[in-house]
Symmetry: C2
Subunit: 341 residues, 2 copies
C-alpha cells in the first residue's frame, strides 16, 4: 500500500518571526511500514513555542530540523498498519509527527510514542493533559517553589502554559495572581476564564507602573513565558526571596537563545536575594505520574478548565505555528487534520 500525502517541509530558516514563507507544501508517497514502524493517519497537530527553536541551526536540546526535511511537532495519529507489537490498527498514538496527512512513525526520540487516552476528548491529550500543563506544573512547584499566599505574576497568561499556570497557582494557594496578555479582549479573558485576579495589557498599559500598582509588596513568583520589557519591569519589583521561572522567551520570537535585549534589571536579584531559573520539562520525567494524577483530579473536580483554540486543515499548519508568537490564540493551539475512523 502506498498513500499519497501532503507534506510541509522547511524551506528556509527564519531569523525572526516564523511564518508560512519558511515552509513548502508538497506531496510525498508514504510507503509500507518497516520493522517496528507504524503507518498512521495524522489527526491533530499541537503547536508549542519550543518548535521555533528547532528551526535554528544552533545549540538546542535536540537536532535542528534540516532544510528540505519535513517539519515536525507533537500530534495525535491513528494507526492504519502496525509492525510494532505495542500498537494495533485503530489505536490513537501521541508523539512527534511530521506535518503530513499520513506518515510512517518509529518509536524513537525524546518523546516516546504512547497510546493517547480516549477517556475524554482527544484534544485534551494536548491541552489540559499535555506537556504545557506539565510544564506549568513543574515550573510552579519544582522551579518556582510556590508558597501559600504568594503574589504570582504570569506573562503570556492567555497562552497554553500561562493559562494552565494561572489556574494551578490558584489551586496551589497563591494569594494574588496577576496575568499579562496583549489587548483588552485577552485581558478580559484571563480574568474571567483564566483564574487571574488582575490583568496587565502589555500592548496598551504602562507595564512597569501597573506591576507596581498591582503588586505593591513585590512579586514573589514570576512565571515568565515572554521575556522583554515585562521581565525588566518585574525584576525591578521583586519581593524578598522572589523566584523568576524562566519558561520561555516568546518576545524573542525564539530566533535564537539570545534575546534582542537582556534583562537590564537583573542586578535586583542581589537586592532581593532572588533567583531566575530555567528548566527543561524532561528533567522531571520521574515525577510525571504524580503530576498527571494531580492534574486529573483537578480536572475532575472542575478546578482546572480546558482552554483550547482549534483551527483546521493541514494547509494552515505554518499559520498556526506563527500564531503562537503573534498572540492569536487563548489556551492551547491545536490544528485538526481529520477525524478518527
Amino acid at each position: 500500500m502506498a498513500i499519497e500525502s501532503r507534506q510541509w517541509t522547511l524551506a528556509s530558516r527564519p531569523t525572526g518571526l516564523v511564518g508560512p514563507e519558511h515552509f513548502n507544501l508538497g506531496n510525498t508517497t508514504v510507503g509500507e511500514p518497516g520493522e517496528g514502524e507504524l503507518l498512521v493517519k495524522n489527526l491533530y497537530l499541537s503547536f508549542d513555542p519550543t518548535q521555533r527553536g528547532w528551526l535554528n541551526d544552533g545549540p538546542g536540546y535536540m537536532d535542528p530540523v534540516q532544510i528540505g526535511a519535513p517539519m515536525i511537532g507533537s500530534g495525535l495519529a491513528q494507526v492504519i498498519e502496525s509492525n510494532n507489537p505495542d500498537f494495533a490498527p485503530g489505536d490513537i498514538v501521541n508523539g512527534t509527527l511530521p506535518w503530513q496527512d499520513y506518515a510512517i512513525l518509529r518509536n524513537e526520540g525524546m518523546m516516546p510514542l504512547t497510546k493517547a487516552s480516549t477517556d475524554f476528548p482527544l484534544t485534551w491529550n494536548f491541552s489540559v493533559f499535555g506537556i504545557t500543563t506539565l510544564t506549568a506544573y513543574f515550573g510552579l512547584t519544582e522551579v518556582g517553589a510556590i508558597k501559600e499566599g504568594d503574589t504570582v505574576l504570569i506573562s503570556g497568561a492567555a497562552g497554553a502554559t500561562g493559562s494552565a499556570a494561572a489556574q494551578m497557582a490558584r489551586i496551589m494557594g497563591a494569594g494574588k495572581i496577576i496575568g499579562v496578555a496583549g489587548g483588552p479582549e485577552k485581558c478580559d479573558w484571563i480574568v474571567k476564564e483564566g483564574s487571574c485576579d488582575a490583568a496587565i495589557d502589555y500592548k496598551n498599559d504602562d507595564v512597569a507602573a501597573k506591576v507596581l500598582e498591582l503588586a505593591p509588596e513585590g512579586v514573589d513568583l514570576f512565571y515568565d513565558n515572554t521575556g522583554g520589557p515585562i521581565l525588566d519591569a518585574v525584576l525591578a519589583n521583586l519581593a524578598d526571596g522572589a523566584r523568576v521561572v524562566v519558561c520561555g522567551g516568546i518576545a524573542s520570537g525564539y530566533s535564537s537563545w539570545t534575546m534582542p535585549e537582556g534583562p537590564k534589571n537583573y542586578l535586583f536579584l542581589i537586592l532581593k536575594s532572588a533567583r531566575m531559573e530555567g528548566f527543561l520539562l524532561f528533567t522531571y520525567a520521574e515525577k510525571f505520574p504524580q503530576a498527571m494524577a494531580d492534574i486529573g483530579k483537578w480536572v475532575q473536580e472542575g478546578k482546572l478548565a480546558v482552554h483550547e483554540t482549534i483551527s483546521e486543515g493541514l494547509e494552515n499548519a505554518p499559520a498556526a505555528l506563527q500564531g503562537l508568537f503573534t498572540g492569536k490564540n487563548t489556551g492551547k493551539a491545536i490544528l485538526k487534520l481529520a477525524d478518527p475512523e
Copy 2:
C-alpha cells in the same frame, strides 16, 4: 574636648563612574560623645563596591548617603572617649565610619560596632576575616551549591571577593578554577597567587572563545562580580544544572541596579536547567560563626592567603573607592589613616 577633623562629604551624585569630583574635603569639629556614643580616631577605611550603591538616590538595602552628608564606609577606629559600657578607651572598633580623621560613633545600623580582633594584623579584620571573604563563602556554598569537581569560573578574580572565592573554591573541591581579570599582570597574579588554574584577560582576550576553550564541558558554577559581556559569554556555555551566583555588577559602575546591557543570553538558563541567583550577605547572619570558624582554620592551615592593597591618607579616600571600578587593586582595597596608639 573638641577636635578638629578633616571630613569628606558627598558633593554630587555620580551617574556613572564615581571619583574624587563627587566629594568635598572640608573640616568639621568633633565634639563630646553623647549618651551611648564613642569619640574615636579612625585608623583604617575599607572599600567595597556596594558603597557605590549608597550614592544613588534610588532603591537599596539602606538609605542613600545625602548630598552634603559625610561619606561612610567600613572601617577600624580607636576609642578615645567612651559613653558606652561595651567599649573602653584604647579599644579598636570595627564598624561603619564617616570618612574623617576623628568621629563620634553610635552603635546602630545594619553593621553593629564590634571590637576588632588584635590577634593578627589589624587589616585582616577587613581582608581575610572581613565581609568580602564571608560574601564569597556564602556565595559559593548557600547560593552556588558548590560540588566536588565543579568547573568554577570567577569574574573580578583579582578583587577582594573574587580572590577569596577562587581560594575557597579550591578548598571546597572545585575541579577547575578559571578566573577573569583585566590585563596580563593581574591574570598572572590570579594564577600564581590566586588559586586559579587558568585566566581570561577581559581586556585583551576574546572572552567567549576563551570560555569555550577553557571549559569545554561547560561551567558548573559562575561566580559573577562584574556582569557585562563576560556574563553573556558564560551563559552561552553553561553545564547542565549550572548555578550563576550574582554577586555584583562592577561593569555597571553600580550607577544603579540597572545594567547598561542585560544578559541577552539568559534564555540558555532554560536549555541547561540552570539558575542565576543574587543575595545579600546579611541573609546568612545566623551562619556567620560557622563561616568564621572555617575561614580561621583555613588561614591557620595556610590554605587561605591574605590579599590586600593598602594605600595611605584620608585625602586619597575617593580615589581608593574609584579604584574598585577601574581595576586598581588586587585583593582587598584598604586605606590607612593612622596607627593605633
